[in-house]
């Protein structure tokens, strides 16, 4: 049995090995490794610092550390479930190579198991890699022995395979129950559920209460209640306890919880195997039916995208309409779209509940500091959105890119249309975020105008970086171009985008502080101060313009030379 599964996994393994052979991928791999290592060490240092601080808090230190551990496990588990469902759907039903795999003389169980293993690996490796610095910091702060690291590694492995097992079971049942041609609806259902779950979880944690002294008494009760084994039926509780008790050298109970997790996984594997034998092939056959549209097209005249975008030139409108239709008809985009909506709701809600009036620092000062930091934060959120949706925009053309090359439209026009197409909605989104959060903070008109202008300059720069680098590092053959956000080009975009935001914020920070303090104290400005302000703001603007022009040019040049 295992020979067949290994054989089915071979194309993937050999393909990966061949990919590493070239010199170019060696360099990319090295850069990836360095970035990963920096992030890894950063995570370790942050957790180490936080846990050391917790240790210094009398009585509550351990409770806080364990609360953090359980929150982390819960977050990892949610992320794993989300990523595993998407991966399972793709690996089991939608991948291009499935037609070939199903034509091979191999049993359905073997096919399922090999696809499941690939999916479980793809959805888990990152969580596994980045849970290690966290667990290492726990081990070092709590001075745990080598047994703890073994138990923690086992616990994380169980976490990953349990999430993968639950996800594949959901996908198997969903594919069997949904009508033929509607399997992609799972993405939409998942998106809605996840958005709701995220809002619920984040609001249940209510971090603002931790700085509210009035509710501290109830927080004590809350923290104390965490010491008890509540919800003992959840795998996350077993895994958290497996790690927690290993830290305290309570090996009997720790191993019991780990054994419970392992048996849960084995049971899930049995359930998956049985379900796969019963319904996997039927579901796969149904998935081969032509995809049906989720919603019927709107038939009213004047409501079509062509009419709404009638003010654009014909090529621009053609690209815009094609892009919008392709985007909204691709149900794989929907979960992330819902997720962004949920995050924005949480983002704005958190601003509304910030207890600024209860802090010892001047409220006006703090409101405006937050407002300024908010520009950076919103820009970072924008970068993440651009990495997911704008960076893959060129790659999304896929194998149909020949249409663009053969069409009587220059690549420059093609790229600029993409730029404007994504800039417009992202500008509205960012300005809404900034204005709404500033209104919730109650900032001064100066800060309101400054942050609105700053984000107005940053949005085109970030979008151009994403479009330009997306064109510089395109992948027209990818089965899922959205994944290019995690490619070398995607990571480079994130780094450059973060660098740009940091530079712009740093250039503005000095003048903003000076202007703000002068207003509070009713002072004027010297000539040199004015010159400094002007120079700083002009440099920030120039930086944004440079980012737009240079990245768009680099993208165009590369596409032309292909």
């Amino acid at each position: 049995m295992y020979n067949a599964v290994l054989t089915l996994l071979q194309p993937r393994l050999i393909g990966a090995a061949n990919g590493f052979r070239s010199r170019a991928s060696g360099v990319r791999l090295l850069i990836f490794f360095v970035i990963g290592l920096v992030f890894w060490i950063g995570s370790f240092l942050i957790f180490y610092r936080v846990l050391t601080y917790f240790q210094s808090v009398q009585d509550f230190g351990d409770i806080l550390a364990m609360k953090l551990l359980s929150m982390m496990i819960l977050t990892f588990f949610t992320l794993l479930l989300f990523s595993s469902i998407i991966n399972s759907l793709s690996h089991l039903y939608l991948s291009r190579d499935l037609s070939l795999v199903h034509s091979l003389p191999v049993s359905i169980r073997h096919i399922f198991l090999s696809r499941w293993l690939g999916s479980a690996f793809d959805s888990s490796w990152m969580v596994m890699a980045f849970s290690l610095p966290v667990l290492l910091s726990y081990g070092m702060v709590f001075k745990a022995g080598p047994g703890f690291y073994l138990a923690a590694a086992g616990a994380v492995l169980c976490l990953c395979v349990i999430a993968a097992g639950i996800s594949s079971l959901i996908v198997l049942c969903g594919a069997a129950l949904l009508p033929a041609g509607k399997i992609r609806t799972l993405f939409v259902i998942l998106g809605v559920l996840l958005a709701l779950l995220l809002v619920l979880v984040l609001r249940m944690i209510r971090p603002e209460q931790l700085v509210n002294p009035d509710s501290f008494a109830s927080a004590v009760l809350y923290l104390n209640s965490l010491q008890a084994l509540d919800r003992p039926y959840l795998p996350t509780t077993w895994i958290t306890d497996g790690i927690r008790l290993a830290l305290k050298n309570e090996w009997g109970l720790s191993l019991f919880n780990l054994a419970l997790s392992a048996s849960c996984f084995l049971f899930l594997l049995f359930l998956n195997d049985t379900t796969a034998r019963l319904v996997y092939f039927r579901g796969f056959s149904r998935a081969q039916t032509a995809a049906k549209r989720l919603f019927a097209p709107v038939q009213y005249r004047g409501l079509s995208w062509e009419h709404l975008l009638g003010f654009l030139s014909r090529p621009a409108r053609a690209f815009a309409v094609k892009e919008i239709r392709s985007f909204f008809r691709d149900s794989t985009q929907w979960p992330q779209l819902f997720l962004i909506c949920a995050l924005i709701v949480v983002y704005l809600y958190n601003f509304s509940v910030l207890p600024l009036d209860r802090t010892p620092i001047s409220s006006v000062y703090l409101q405006n500091v937050f407002s300024f930091l908010n520009v950076g934060l919103a820009a970072f959120v924008l970068s993440a959105i651009a990495a997911r949706f704008v960076f893959p925009a060129v790659s999304m053309e896929g194998e149909a890119f020949w249409i663009i090359r053969a069409a009587p439209v220059s690549l420059k026009t093609f790229l600029w249309i993409k730029f404007f197409l994504y800039s417009f909605p992202l500008l509205i989104l960012s300005e809404l975020l900034i204005v709404a959060s500033n209104l919730l903070l109650g900032v001064t008109p100066f800060m309101m105008v400054l942050s609105a202008i700053t984000i107005f300059c940053l949005v085109p720069a970030i979008v151009a970086l994403a479009v330009g680098l997306g064109a510089r590092f395109p992948d027209f053959k990818s089965e899922n171009p959205a994944l290019s956000a995690t490619s070398f080009g995607g990571v480079l975009f994130m780094l450059l985008s973060f660098g740009l935001i940091a530079l712009v914020i740093a250039l503005e920070a000095g003048p903003v502080y000076k202007i703000f303090m002068a207003r509070i104290h009713g002072r004027g400005f010297s000539f040199w101060s004015m010159a400094w302000f002007l120079l700083s703001f002009a440099l920030a603007l120039l930086l944004c313009v440079f980012a737009v022009v240079s990245s768009m040019r680099a993208g165009e040049k590369h596409l032309l030379s292909r």
Partner: protein, 241 residues
């Protein structure tokens, strides 16, 4: 109408096309044949403006493709060997998209789109997303899209792949009709019977270089194969080339 002058494409690891010279007048159907990896698709992609030649010049209707690619491409109807399309658009939406890019007059667009979709028996599928089309339907849609703007030059890579016998006959008749209307047709194919039956002149390419070109009789003379069929001529030329 189509002119290639010393066109070379060097992929560093492979010299795909080596100093290729072609001159195809208006109204001619030119067949381009050669073994696998001979450089046919690379030549066609260069002529369609999809890839740039390493050196040499390509002119379409007298317009240098490198100097004014937009004007040159407006004259071309391009059909690639594999029917990759925007899968999430419907057939009709795709034709509208192409019409906007090629500036087809809006007043004639719908009439022309319907005419073509009916001609290619796709009208019943006009409002279905392309994702649900078969390979042959996609191929027919691409040919319909290439004809939408009444091109002066038709460049087709393997036109009959995926088409049913009825489709093959229809495309053959369409290409003949185009040539009769002074449209230059450049066809790359492995189907030698099609080339023999359809083309006015045939070029044989191997290892990136043009071995011979002309009518079947002229090719026979070049290959010294008497009055053999195109298959025999082709095999002889490639073997000796």
């Amino acid at each position: 109408m189509i002119e290639l002058l010393e066109v070379t494409k060097d992929y560093k690891t492979t010299l795909a096309v080596n100093r290729l010279n072609l001159r195809i007048p208006a109204g001619e159907i030119y067949g381009f044949i050669g073994p696998n990896g001979a450089g046919k698709t690379t030549t066609i992609r260069m002529m369609g403006g999809i890839i740039e030649p390493t050196s040499g010049h390509i002119a379409i209707g007298g317009i240098d493709l490198r100097k004014d690619p937009v004007a040159a491409k407006k004259m071309i109807g391009f059909v690639p060997d594999r029917p990759f399309l925007y899968e999430k658009l419907t057939g009709l939406e795709f034709l509208k998209f192409v019409a906007d890019l090629y500036a087809v007059a809006p007043r004639i667009l719908m009439r022309r789109a319907e005419e073509l979709l009916r001609q290619f028996t796709l009208w019943d599928w006009a409002n279905e997303i392309i994702e649900s089309y078969s390979h042959g339907m996609k191929q027919r849609l691409i040919i319909a899209a290439a004809l939408l703007h009444d091109p002066k030059v038709m460049i087709i890579d393997e036109p009959m792949v995926g088409l049913d016998p009825e489709g093959v006959r229809m495309v053959r008749d369409i290409l003949r009709g185009l040539a009769a209307n002074n449209v230059t047709v450049f066809v790359s194919t492995h189907t030698l019977s099609l080339a023999e039956d359809l083309c006015d002149r045939i070029g044989v390419i191997s290892k990136g270089a043009l071995l011979a070109e002309g009518t079947v009789a002229e090719l026979n003379r070049a290959a010294k194969t008497g009055d053999a069929g195109l298959e025999e001529v082709f095999l002889t030329l490639v073997r000796e080339g």
